[in-house]
Amino acid sequence: MPLAAIRAVSKGQNGIGAFVLQCKRLDFHYCDWAGSSRGMNEYLRTHLARFAASNPSIEVTVSPKPRQHPVIKGVYVNGREKAICVRNMTPAEIINKVQLLKTDSGEKMKKSHRAGRNMVTSINESVRGVWDPFHRTGERFKI
C-alpha cells in the first residue's frame, strides 16, 4: 500500500480556533536619575502590575538604562522588535504606547494604498492561478 501524506483539512490562521498574541515580550527601560523618566517611573510603580497581571502571556522585563531616555521595546513572534521612546511622557500616554505595542503584529509598517488605489493583500491563493505564457498554446498573451 503506497504511503500518502495526510491532507491538511484546515490551515492554521491566527484568530481561528485560538488567538495567539503576536507580542511575546515587553522590555521597559528607565533611568533612576533623569527627569525624562519621571512619567515612566510613575507608570512602572503604579500601572505595570495591573498590565502584567492582565496579560500573562507577555513576558515583562524591567531594567534600568542609566543616562538614557526611557524606552519600551516589544519583541514579537516573527522575531522582529519595535521600540518606542517615551521620554517626558505621562503615565496615561505611556499606557497608550504599551497598548500599541501589545496589539501590534510585529510586521514592518507599510503603506496600505498606492497611487490612489487601494492595495489589496491576501494570504489566500488566487482563484485564477499564477499567470503562465505557455498556458494556452496558439494564443499568445491572450489571457
Binding site: D32, R45, L48, A52, A53, V62, P64, P66
Partner: protein, 359 residues
Amino acid sequence: MPRIRAAEQALSLIASSSAKPQYVCRACRAHAATRQFHTTRPFAADVGFFKRIQQSLFGGKKAPEQEAQAKKQVEERAKADAEKQRTGQGRERKGRGYEVAAVYDPSINPEYVMANKWDELERVGGEKWVKAQKDQGVKYKGFNRHKPAELEDEQWLKVLRYVAVKVRGRQRIGQDALNANLGLQTLPVVLELPTDGTKSLEKWAYAASRISQGPGSTSTASATRASHTLDPETMEKEPWLAIPLQDPMVKFAITKRVTQLTGHRLRDPTISSARTLADLYTAYKTKAAPKKLAKTAEMMTLREYAPNVTVKERRQTPIHKEKAIGRWKVIEEELIARDLPVTGTRWKGARPSRIALTR
C-alpha cells in the same frame, strides 16, 4: 646669502689669524689666572696632597684599628643575615619588621623547578600591589560609622534610652552634656546593655510636664500627647519618650551621640522641629525612601502579583542576554581560543583593569 666657492673659502681660512695660536708670555698667563672670576671661596685642604697620597698608599696611623672595625662590621652583617634566613624575620633601620623571602637554589633544593608560566607567580607592580604594600599600620577611624546601621524599632528605643540616660547623668552633675564624654561603647555593646535608668528618665519627663502644664496636672502621657506624632500605645508603654527637648544643648547632645553610634544623621529641619524625644524616635525609625526604583516596595513585590515580570537592578548588557540563554560560555571559550578580547577591550574607551585581566 651669496654662494661662496670652495676655493674662496679655503683661501679665507688660510688668511684668517684664528688658525694660528697667538703667543702669550708666562708672566701674562699667571697674571690672567689670578684675575679669573670665581664664585666659590678658596679654602685650604685639611690634609695636604702629599699626605693624602701617602695615606691612600700605605695607610695612616689608625689603619690597623679601622681594618679591625671594618672586619667586625662585616662579621656582624653576616651574622644578622644568617639570623634573618634562620628565623625568616628581618627588621628595618626604623624598626619595622618584615618577612625574609626564602632563597631557592636549584643546586641546594633538587625539588625546585623553574617556572615557565606566569600562573601562580607573584605579580610585582600595579596599582593594587602598591596599595597592598603601603603602610597599613595606622588606619583612619572617623567620628561616624562607615555605614549607617540598620536597626529595628526596639533597637532604636534602646539606643535613645541609653543616650538619654547618659545626657541626664551629665546634666545632674552639672556638666555640659554636649561636650562631655558620653561613653566609648560601640553600638553592639549598647544594644546588649541592660535597660537601666528608665525610672530616672520617667521622673525627668514627669518633672518637665509638671513645669509646662502647671502644678495641677498629674499624667505625663496626657500632658505630652499633643506634642508628638507617636501612637498612644507606644507612649503608654514608654512614657519617658515624652521628655521635652526645649534645651537645644540637650537635643544636640542626644543627636550627636546617636549619630556617632548608629551613623544616622537627621536633617537640620527635623532636629529643629523635634519637641520631644518621641519626635526624634519617629525621625530615626522612619526608613529613608530608596533612591533606586528597583529597590522600592512596589517593584520588590511586583513578582508576587505578576509572575511574568522580571525586575533587574542593574543595566542589562548583551552579555547578560547571552548568559540568560546559556550561550555566553560558548562565546567566551571561542573568543579566548582565538586570542580575541572577551569584553570589548579593543575599544579605546575600555577600562584599563579589564584590559589587564584579559591579557
